[in-house]
Subunit: 332 residues, 2 copies
């Protein structure tokens, strides 16, 4: 566990300043105090002073994604949520979900018996038993990447998929690509549907023809690219837009196996901008989701719901990060 | 100007409790203190203690809508924003805009020379000169009912038009209506476009045919219903969905002039649920936008932008309020 000294070193300030910040001394500015507390939370530091006085509790429910290492998609989302909640004196518990647990225990029972005022649910799929229960629950829940119509106790938090996919297509069109394939994630996911809709809209906005043969779904976390790649290439794809970075990594590997160089022979774009996407032989052009900010927004909207402000959607702006996996189109 | 006594009477608590709340005494609960401050702001009360210490300033920019009386659409939006901003120690100034002022003064110059950290812009139209300037500005701006693509310093705040129109159509379909006309507001408005799109989607979701002859645009604030009504009726409309309540009031008046009773002969639905919509001979079925909450969300998103969390969209849930202007379809 981190000490005050670790925090001081990390921030390049004195131990006494860290101590003052944590104790709310008046000669430390509001901004610096916020930074000190955020860093302390991120480093796992806590003192009696930092422990929440009363028993205000929130839950983070996590399904289908990894979050324990800082290379994982979920890591910064959890951190951003905890940092924001901490400033309002909430305790936050993390609960990984799986289908057995969701079948054994009812969502509302779980929340009530543990004394949670609300939850931030990460990446539940449309098939998860708790999704069905949250649809009619009166307990405040913000959902990453899921929208529940007509239930004002829930809020969809995510990145604006339309703007992200639109920026990716605009970038590829600027490089001369007209045959842009889309290898998307799981079919039973709202995000997949939104990204596919944004893809068709993006083609139309750029006066490109829609070609059903250039679009296919697989899995966000366990893609089998080689099942799809030959057909996409046969249909003339010069660029492959991917449902997320994990898919894009696999596409690059499979292209290389077929003797195709990225980006010389084919361009590839991911979605998420995972920490690993700037590494490797081919650093990835990707639509960035700021995961710390997503976590903060998850809290912000939950705070709204708990205070009876029925926010239904809260979407962050994405940012296209251009690296070495995209280049001008060439005639293969 | 309101006194402490006025606030105490309004809340049904003692003068000394109000005084303690305004002064942050520790024996007044956090929740009560928030309520006391919100009420004090709403009633125009202020003391030295309540005046902001430093010079943190935000602007509310208002175009094309009324906000000065509590029957006006803008009144509660301004109030909700001020209440939320007040808790974070901001001063808030209100600036009505008109085309002359927007032409004479540049948006960024105005913001900088007045020392504003950000703005909440209400109801600017796509033709307003400042809209064009905000598109490329780096000053944080949240916009009621306007979305600016690709500028992460701006955020669209509003009510979820899709869910509102969908609920209205579902209600009418439940009453047996299949010929639902749509008399929409101004053509040069993002809100009009979204509501029309939601209308077509809502018809499709309910397996109703799309009929171009049942849809027309006029004005949100100065509608000339009699220009449109005969054609809509000739085309078989048994219900008229309206772009807002002001349009719906006019539709009811014009129907009555033609000898049609609402809701016996024709159903009418508004959008907004203005304070006046529950009054009059025919109280209005309307899609409710909670304007206090819209104002709070305007602040919430602006607070995010100022702290570099690039929220792009923040949408509140609407609520369909069913009153006496809708009824089961009859054969005319």
């Amino acid at each position: 566990m981190a000490t005050i000294k670790d925090i001081a070193e990390k921030l390049g300030i004195s131990i006494s300043t860290v101590s003052k910040g944590l104790n709310g001394a008046s000669d430390v500015s509001h901004e610096l105090r916020e930074t000190i507390i955020d860093t302390a939370v991120a480093m796992g530091y806590s003192t009696k002073r930092m422990k929440r006085e009363d028993n205000k509790k929130l839950a983070i429910l996590i399904a289908h994604i990894d979050y324990e290492s800082n290379n994982n998609f979920g890591y910064d989302i959890v951190l951003g949520f905890k940092q924001a909640a901490f400033h309002d004196n909430w305790n936050v518990d993390i609960h990984p979900l799986d289908i057995n647990f969701e079948t054994r225990e009812k969502f509302e029972n779980f929340m009530l018996k543990n004394g949670y005022s609300g939850a931030f649910a990460l990446c539940l799929s449309l098939n998860d038993p708790w999704m069905e229960q949250i649809k009619t629950s009166s307990i405040p829940v913000t959902l990453l990447d899921n929208h529940i119509p007509q239930n004002p106790n829930t809020c969809y938090v995510g990145t604006d998929n339309y703007e992200g996919i639109e920026a990716a297509i605009r970038h590829l069109v600027g490089l001369g690509h007209t045959k842009i394939a889309f290898l998307n994630g799981d079919k039973d996911s709202m995000i997949s549907e939104l990204r596919e809709q944004a893809y068709w809209d993006g083609l139309r906005a750029n006066n490109l023809p829609a070609d059903r043969m250039l679009v296919t779904n697989d899995s966000f976390t366990n893609v089998d690219t080689k099942k799809h790649l030959p057909a996409l290439l046969e249909n003339g794809a010069t660029a492959i837009l991917c449902g997320n970075d994990l898919i894009a990594y696999d596409v690059i590997r499979e292209c290389n196996k077929l003797g195709l160089k990225v980006p010389e022979d084919i361009s590839v774009i991911g979605f998420d901008d995972l920490p690993t996407s700037s590494e490797g032989d081919t650093s990835l052009t990707s639509v960035r989701q700021d995961r710390i900010d997503l976590g903060k927004c998850g809290y912000l909207a939950l705070h709204g719901l708990i205070n009876r402000v029925p926010i239904g959607r809260l979407l962050l702006r994405p940012e296209l990060i251009v690296r070495n996996s995209t280049a001008k189109v060439v005639d293969r």
